[in-house]
C-alpha cells in the first residue's frame, strides 16, 4: 500500500499548471455529465396532479366553503397557522389558481411530508372545509419532461462524456510524458504494470470522486433552496422537492461519477503501453 501511495504521490507531483487545468476540465466535464444525468430526474413538472395546481410533497390545497364569513376564514387561518405541523399557510381565491370553483383556498406547506398526513387529518375535521388536495411522494415521483428537452439533455450527456474522455486522454498523455523517465526506470527495475498502472487509474477515480462530491453538494443545496421556495420550484424542477429522489440521484450520480472516473483512469493507464514509454521498442 505504501508503494502505491508513493507512486501516486510522485504522479501527482508531475502535474504542472497546464496539466492541472486540463484535469480540472476533466472534472468539470464529468460534473456536467452527472448534472445532466440528475436533470433527467429532477428537472420538469410533476405529473402527480391531474386536475389541480401542481403540488410539492408536504404541500396541500384546502378548499373552503363559499358560505364561510371572512371572520370564519380568519379564525381557521389562525388556527391552522398555529399548528406545529404547519410551516407556511397562504390564502388565495380559487380563481387565482385557475380552479373552476368559488370561494377561497388555503395553500399549506407542512413542516415535512410525514407531518402533512396528520395535519391533513386534523384539518379535514374542521368545519367549513370542503376538500383537500395533496400529493404523495409516490405521486410526485413522475416527472414530466418535454421530448425536446429530453433529447437535448441526452445529446448534452453524450457530448460531455465523450468530451471528458478526449480531454482526459490528452491530459494523461501530457502527464505521462512528464512521468516517462519514472515509467522507464520502473520497467527497467522489474516493476510490473500492475504496480505503476493502479496509481494512474486512481487519478481518474479521484477526478470522478471530486465530480461526484460536487454533484452531491449542488443537488442538496438546490434541494434545500427548493424546499424554502416550493412554489417557485414546482414547475421547473419538482424532483428537487422529493427527498427520496434527491437521495437516489445523489447516490446513483456519485456511483456513475466514480465509474466514469475509473474508466478515464483505465484509459490513462492503457497509454503507458505506448512505444514512447518503453525502453526497447
Amino acid at each position: 500500500m505504501s508503494r502505491f501511495f508513493f507512486i501516486f504521490g510522485n504522479l501527482l507531483g508531475a502535474i504542472n499548471g497546464r496539466i492541472g487545468w486540463l484535469f480540472l476540465g476533466v472534472v468539470g466535464l464529468i460534473f456536467a455529465a452527472l448534472l445532466i444525468f440528475a436533470g433527467f430526474f429532477l428537472v420538469g413538472e410533476t405529473t402527480g396532479q391531474e386536475n389541480g395546481p401542481a403540488l410539492a410533497p408536504g404541500e396541500m390545497v384546502v378548499y373552503l366553503s363559499p358560505q364561510l364569513s371572512s371572520d370564519d376564514v380568519q379564525s381557521l387561518y389562525l388556527k391552522i397557522r398555529d399548528m406545529p405541523e404547519t410551516r407556511t399557510i397562504n390564502y388565495r381565491f380559487a380563481q387565482e389558481l385557475g380552479l373552476d370553483r368559488t370561494g377561497g383556498v388555503f395553500i399549506i406547506q407542512a413542516v415535512s411530508a410525514s407531518a402533512a398526513a396528520s395535519l391533513q387529518e386534523t384539518i379535514r375535521e374542521m368545519l367549513g372545509i370542503i376538500n383537500i388536495d395533496s400529493v404523495t411522494e409516490a405521486q410526485g415521483a413522475t416527472v414530466s419532461l418535454s421530448s425536446a428537452l429530453r433529447l437535448g439533455l441526452l445529446v448534452a450527456l453524450i457530448v460531455s462524456i465523450v468530451g471528458s474522455l478526449i480531454l482526459a486522454r490528452y491530459a494523461f498523455l501530457l502527464l505521462l510524458d512528464r512521468f516517462s523517465a519514472e515509467i522507464k526506470l520502473l520497467r527497467l527495475s522489474g516493476t510490473s504494470e500492475g504496480v505503476f498502472q493502479p496509481p494512474v487509474v486512481a487519478l481518474g477515480v479521484l477526478c470522478g470522486i471530486i465530480a461526484a462530491m460536487l454533484l452531491v453538494v449542488v443537488v442538496y443545496l438546490s434541494h434545500f433552496l427548493a424546499l424554502s421556495h416550493p412554489q417557485a420550484t414546482i414547475h421547473a424542477a419538482c424532483g428537487l422537492l422529493l427527498p427520496g429522489r434527491v437521495l437516489m440521484v445523489s447516490l446513483v450520480g456519485s456511483l456513475i461519477g466514480i465509474v466514469l472516473g475509473g474508466l478515464i483512469g483505465v484509459l490513462g493507464a492503457s497509454l503507458t503501453a505506448q512505444e514512447r514509454f518503453q525502453i526497447y521498442s
Binding site: R3, E182, K184, L185, R187, L188, G190, T191, Y280
Partner: protein
C-alpha cells in the same frame, strides 16, 4: 564457475526484416567482466534487451541464472528482471536529486524509506557519488550521469550488470574512469556484461572482449 548467461544459436530479425543477431553463442560465468565490442547498429542493444527480458526472444536459447527466459511466465520474467541491473543506452535520470533517483527505484520495488535510503547511500558510495547526494541529476556531467546510472543498476544488489554502451559521449579520460569503476565493481563480485563501440584500452584490469560484427560474436581474449 557457475554460468550466469548462456546463449545458444540466438538469432534475431528486426521488424524490417534485417538480421540483427545471427547464430550467437556466448557464455558468461559468475565473476566475469565482459566487453561486447561492435560498431553502431551491430545488434549490441538488442542483445542487452534480450538478456534483460525487455525484448521478446525469437529464435535460439537464452539462459540467465540457468532459466530459459523464453519459457518464463510474465511474473517470473519480472522476478528475473529484478535480479539484473540494466543500464540502457542514453539513460535519462529523473528530474530529482541523486539520492531521490535511487530511493525512487528502491521504494517502487517495495523497500521502506529507511531501508531504501540505506541501500541508496551504499550504491552511491560504491560509485563515488556520496559528495553529490543532494545535487540534481540534470546538473551532472556525462561521467557522473553514467555513475548515477550504475548506482541505480546496483542499488538492489543484483549479481549481474548489463550496461548498454555506457561510454557514449565520454572523453577518453572519463572512459578510462568508467573502465576502472567497472573493474572495481567486478572485484566486489558483480558479473558485468557491457557493450561499447570503442576499442578497449590496455588497462590494469582483466576483461574478456567479445566482438559483435554482422550479428555474430567472436571471442578476442
Amino acid at each position: 564457475m557457475s554460468v550466469i548467461i548462456q546463449l545458444s544459436e540466438l538469432s534475431f530479425v528486426s521488424e524490417d526484416g534485417m538480421k540483427v543477431l545471427d547464430d550467437v553463442h556466448l557464455r558468461v560465468d559468475r565473476g566475469d567482466l565482459v566487453f561486447l565490442v561492435g560498431p553502431a547498429a551491430a545488434g549490441k542493444s538488442v542483445l542487452i534487451g534480450l538478456l534483460g527480458t525487455q525484448i521478446e526472444s525469437q529464435q535460439g536459447q537464452i539462459l540467465v541464472y540457468g532459466r530459459n527466459i523464453a519459457r518464463l511466465s510474465r511474473k517470473k520474467a519480472f522476478d528475473l528482471r529484478r535480479q539484473i541491473g540494466l543500464l540502457p543506452q542514453g539513460f535519462v535520470a529523473l528530474q530529482k536529486t541523486l539520492m531521490e533517483n535511487v530511493t525512487f527505484k528502491l521504494r517502487c520495488l517495495g523497500d521502506f524509506r529507511e531501508q531504501a535510503e540505506e541501500k541508496a547511500l551504499a550504491a552511491l558510495d560504491q560509485v563515488g557519488l556520496t559528495s553529490k547526494l543532494a545535487h540534481m541529476a540534470s546538473e551532472l556531467d556525462p561521467f557522473d550521469r553514467v555513475r548515477l546510472g550504475i548506482a541505480l543498476s546496483i542499488s538492489n544488489e543484483p549479481l549481474l550488470l548489463l550496461l548498454d554502451d555506457p561510454l557514449v559521449g565520454l572523453s577518453l579520460k572519463e572512459q578510462e574512469q568508467v573502465y576502472s569503476l567497472l573493474a572495481q565493481l567486478n572485484r566486489r563480485g558483480f558479473t558485468i556484461l557491457a557493450t561499447t563501440r570503442d576499442s578497449i584500452p590496455n588497462a590494469d584490469f582483466s576483461a574478456r572482449i567479445v566482438e559483435l560484427v554482422d550479428g555474430r560474436v567472436e571471442e578476442k581474449s
